[in-house]
């Protein structure tokens, strides 16, 4: 199983990179010119994201370094312990939608401290792997096209994070419990 997964992840990008130009060439597309033409937009798109990402990163950074994030993380840790869920897992629910690097660091720390095959290690892996950083995705995707009013998108994202978090814990308890 593992060797199969490694094989897929090692080969998928190289195959895509080789297949697209080959296919385009057989369709008489001027491959290099077409590539350069499309690639042109990449720079301005990335630059356009800067104001959005700077704004969001400043807020998260202030929230994090002031000790506020740590406080809320500690507070949730002692909150739902009674349900048989290890209290070390709960902070991940707050970290995950806010910061991708922060939650990955916390997950890695849990895996290191408790072992990858412990219940905590498995839950943390499942939570970290099952969803993306909502705030980052929202900022980058809407920032790239200059959307300022995201309507209900953030609510939907945070709601699905919460559902995914609970689902990950429940599934792990069922499968490994």
């Amino acid at each position: 199983m593992l060797s199969w997964i490694n094989l897929v992840s090692a080969w998928s990008i190289p195959i895509i990179i080789a297949f697209i130009p080959l296919y385009a060439y057989t369709r008489k597309v001027p491959v290099y010119e077409s590539f350069v033409d499309g690639a042109k937009d990449g720079f301005s798109t990335a630059i356009g994201i800067i104001p959005h990402l700077v704004g969001m990163m400043v807020a998260i950074s202030v929230f994090r370094s002031s000790g506020a994030l740590e406080f809320f993380v500690g507070w949730t840790g002692s909150f739902l312990q009674t349900l048989g869920v290890p209290s070390e897992i709960l902070p991940l629910g707050i970290l995950r939608p806010l910061t991708g690097t922060g939650s990955l660091a916390y997950t890695t720390e849990l895996i290191r401290a408790y072992g990858p095959d412990s219940m905590i290690g498995r839950m943390a892996s499942t939570i970290q792997g099952s969803t993306d950083t909502t705030l980052y995705v929202l900022t980058v995707y809407f920032g790239a096209v200059g959307i300022r009013n995201g309507r209900y998108a953030l609510k939907v994202g945070l709601f699905s994070d919460l559902v995914g978090f609970i689902a990950a814990i429940a599934v792990c308890l069922l499968v490994f419990g």
Binding site: V29, G42, S66, G121, D132, A153, V156
Partner: protein, 210 residues
């Protein structure tokens, strides 16, 4: 909501720093955060330039249209207001498949390209269209078959079975994605209903329009 969360994080951070007596951390954190924002954006340049070039190639070759046709029914269900043969469909599909296979750095450029195509259909350029909200919901929930990063970390810490979390992750991510789609549908319907109601109101009182 985003306005409140953004301001909230800054103000709560300010209060905590003031209360804990480390107010100078706020200044440093603000400028560090700004720097991170720029660094991450610059990191996106190479990925975006490369993948947008590749995707243009796929589009010119008719590959995107082909993929869109193949999986059309699923996308048409999720994005009912995008015209059938619009290029956005192909990009949405490439974005979804890149997410599925855990190709994170390919998924983002394709998602951004899909957003740009959806923006062309959007009547109000500063407000997200329902289709954009759906695309975002799919990406924040980000259904993944193979969580490659985590398998690598678990392998690193000598797990007896690093890939045993593939099944649990798949189930959790499927539930989260289903929740995202349902919530998105619900809000979308509410928005439409509200719009109809306000249209009726302006129809009944023509002088409101001025």
């Amino acid at each position: 909501m985003i306005n409140l969360i953004w301001m909230g994080m800054i103000l709560v951070g300010f209060c905590f720093a003031a209360f804990n007596g480390n107010i100078d951390s706020v200044t440093k954190a603000a400028f560090d955060g700004a720097q991170t924002g720029v660094t991450v954006s610059f990191g996106l340049i190479s990925i975006l330039v490369f993948w947008l070039g590749m995707m243009r190639l796929a589009e010119d070759a008719g590959l995107l249209a082909k993929v869109a046709k193949l999986l059309g029914p699923v996308v048409r269900f999720l994005f009912p207001d995008v015209p059938k043969n619009h290029p956005a469909m192909g990009y949405i599909l490439s974005n979804m498949s890149a997410n599925l296979f855990g190709l994170g750095n390919a998924a983002t450029p394709m998602g951004i390209k899909a957003m740009q195509e959806l923006q062309k259909l959007n009547p109000d350029k500063h407000t997200a269209s329902p289709a954009m909200c759906t695309l975002l919901a799919l990406n924040t929930a980000s259904i993944t078959i193979i969580p490659t990063t985590l398998i690598a970390i678990r392998l690193n810490y000598e797990s007896a079975n690093p890939s045993e979390i593939v099944g649990t992750t798949l189930l959790a991510t499927a539930i989260a994605t289903a929740a995202a789609i349902i919530a998105d549908r619900w809000y979308r319907k509410q928005t439409i209903r509200r719009q109809i109601r306000s249209d009726i109101r302006t129809d009944l009182n023509p002088d409101v329009k001025g």
